[in-house]
Subunit: 559 residues, 2 copies
Amino acid sequence: MAEVKSDIEIARAAKKKNIMEIGAKLGIGSDHLLPYGHDKAKISAEFIAQQQSRPNGRLVLVTAINPTPAGEGKTTTTVGLGDGLNRIGKKAVVCIREASLGPCFGVKGGAAGGGYAQVVPMEDMNLHFTGDFHAITSAHNLLAALIDNHIYWGNEQNIDIRRIAWRRVMDMNDRALREIVCSLGGVANGYPREAGFDITVASEVMAILCLSMDLKDLEKRLGNIIIGYRRDKSPVFARDIKADGAMTVLLKDAMQPNLVQTLENNPAFVHGGPFANIAHGCNSVVATTTALKLADYVVTEAGFGADLGAEKFFDIKCRKAGLKPDVAVIVATARAMKMNGGVKKDDLGQENIEAVKKGCANLGRHIQNVKKFGVPVVVGINHFVSDTEGEIQAIKDYVATLGAEAVLCKHWAQGSAGIEELANKVVQLAESGQSQFAPLYPDDMPLFQKIETIAKSIYHAGEVIADKSVRDQLKAWEDQGYGNLPICMAKTQYSFSTDPNLRGAPSGHTVPVREVRLSAGAGFIVVITGEIMTMPGLPKSPSSERIFLNDMGQIEGLF
Amino acid sequence: MAEVKSDIEIARAAKKKNIMEIGAKLGIGSDHLLPYGHDKAKISAEFIAQQQSRPNGRLVLVTAINPTPAGEGKTTTTVGLGDGLNRIGKKAVVCIREASLGPCFGVKGGAAGGGYAQVVPMEDMNLHFTGDFHAITSAHNLLAALIDNHIYWGNEQNIDIRRIAWRRVMDMNDRALREIVCSLGGVANGYPREAGFDITVASEVMAILCLSMDLKDLEKRLGNIIIGYRRDKSPVFARDIKADGAMTVLLKDAMQPNLVQTLENNPAFVHGGPFANIAHGCNSVVATTTALKLADYVVTEAGFGADLGAEKFFDIKCRKAGLKPDVAVIVATARAMKMNGGVKKDDLGQENIEAVKKGCANLGRHIQNVKKFGVPVVVGINHFVSDTEGEIQAIKDYVATLGAEAVLCKHWAQGSAGIEELANKVVQLAESGQSQFAPLYPDDMPLFQKIETIAKSIYHAGEVIADKSVRDQLKAWEDQGYGNLPICMAKTQYSFSTDPNLRGAPSGHTVPVREVRLSAGAGFIVVITGEIMTMPGLPKSPSSERIFLNDMGQIEGLF
């Protein structure tokens, strides 16, 4: 076997084309591409507006089984499939999420694919990139400052300072900021109160930016943010303190999709990155809808496994943006199947066909779930060098029993050459016209029933339980006109149930709803079923200790 | 008189050239210019390193009288003079500071000059620009997160949590964050302690970036930051918790100077923006030294009046970077002279030659002070339409009595055509070889004596008073090897004294030293003589309420 190169070695050896050339492939003139260096660019709002009458290309969702510590390679497969489609003669664009800066300093970073299926420049993508997350941080914190300033100068809106619903954000893993008391120090500094910070990807502004159709829609949604409540419990909106205009100005450039390239010089849109638990976990609507105007095929992904990611992609993003996915790829690995089948992490290197077969139940459940949305499915088996032929065949045989097909993909080692078969299968399914996409539940279903529908239909839960206060809250929102919103489930990504240790395909379990939150700007109801951490911490020996610039000015230790 | 256009109208009508063309004027190839859009670019570290053997151009400092509410127009004159020098055939580059985002949402923004002497794109310069301040915010807050994380995981360095010297920063006017208690909420969130936020321009990282010669120097200085003290009062450095490498990586691009252009398409470097009180208030050393390699003339400015700004420019920036200024321009206005002469703001529109004469004492003191550094001086009278010939002549006559010359400048209304006379005078003084620049005090003078030297020689104070604790602290730093550092005075900018209401040219006053701080990474001792606000608040009706995107996608209300 040839020497295995690291992701960063492969990325550094990439023969990148000038981003203007990549844009030209999609028919974007240099006037409409705002460069950020020679290898990144933003696409102008004007250009995007001009494309609206063009027909859409085909939309491919890449999703996965429940994540395991073995790694599935969803982004790698998304990038590889994009290259594969280009290889077989289709004009394809990859749409993925931007990476958060903070976590890179905790554990190893890298959210740009891997092996020979990467998006470049990966260093930039893991650091400041084109500044979108910084702009979101600024817009979010401007609103926070305006809230305390409004109260300081007389509180004309009568905001109850015990009921402020807007925290601050920072793109950093900083547990010390999770819970604070602010405005200490006397009269000049305001009214002391409990407050706190989330990481930027958990900001509602992030979710709003990713669901907005254009700048006008963005401004409207920002105005709809509920910043807190009065003593009579009536909501106070961001527009009530005139914050929406300035927030929109701060987000003017961040709203525009970022164009970069794969290692094979194919176009990739990398834009937006909302949390996949308290938000919907997909790249921006603007990036996806723009890509659909410019390409035959758009390959995008959703966060976590299909139970969370694909469900939200279909029920929130596709519903709200009017998208109609043509085919879904579910990524699985033999290693992850073994883990689902009960094998410990240290033993994953040994062949164990029985464990693979046992673990396939998890994959099977996801296949059946995705079909419930009317979207045809193909399984992509992301190949690891330790996989055996027997293990791969076991997965293929299992998937065939469900009326679907599993295709072995070697894009990590071979780039597009290793994923031609999946690309052809995707084209066949997409062009068959099989897709009859529809969301899982209608807009006008009562909110609690929407939760039950997701829990029973997708998680195979036996029941949903919730305190009266939660049910009353949902009723109150229905009375206030929010009953038509979709549900955004915040659940562990490791299991169909709310118990992260329950692998495989459990049934009949109970889904307890701990809390519900209204994201009135983003336009969904967050349903929390467990502990959700919105501000991570750093480990004992954070990776920042090993990150530095080498003598050639290259970044070491980030990947 | 013709209709007077607003700054933003003039800026929007600018015929900008592609930034690659502007770079080409300076001999910077497109490979070494990293574009940010079509009108901004960063200059590569490699290109800068290649210029080191070239001779330096002439260095011109633009400073001013003590600021008044009447406005002096220091940046406007800096930009205008750059254009004027280009007009008379000199290759000139303007070097100014970047603007802070936060204050733009409080009161009207605009730090890019005015009238027909502006740097463009002004909207970007007042918002995210090329992301430098966001990178500084990230690097600063990474260090803060690492400090609390170090303590959380066992505190190997034995940092005394009562003596943590590193706050957090945000580029926002947010008084609620001035004083907080962090790490609340129990075991998982750390040890509760008092903390707080400053605005990003007050970060020591900002000062460090602006004083570093290159990335290696930057990393070394970041490592030198004192983050706190142990119980035995020994300092703990950023390098002790291995933060310097990752901070440098975050600042990799922020370290490179930004190239933009004036309305007349002449090159301008806009880079760095440290506070002018607790820091030295100058644009970056890298920008200035690079510009000197590429141009015949470099025109730069320093914060506040000459008592603070020019003194720090000479004693901190020039001393540390080995710069030798050739000439200084002191900006004055008839209106400001009248105000110094006792006229109220509402009466500034009426001619009052006696008041002008009386107010000239302030200007005279600054002229004499700058000459103490061995640098020849010319006064630039920034013309306002309400000025009378008699008032202008009074200033000219006064300045002549001090052996200097005052030149009337109409760059605000006419661009470079209005400032040819000043440009010619600057060239004459610079090429005369008169400058015998030397800092005010030697490196090896004891710290307290350095403070006295500045106070007596520049402020004309009678004495400096300080508690024993302050004097002991200075002694202790001398013992630890910091005695050779320059002094960075934090004093009101409105007066030579520490009383902001004492205008004109007071003498014999007392300078009380309230506190001293060691900025070991930046390399200076901060001497605080009054209340210094490092986190501004927003006013009752912040300008954010009137900032929005109009239907053409243009920003309204920011200027």
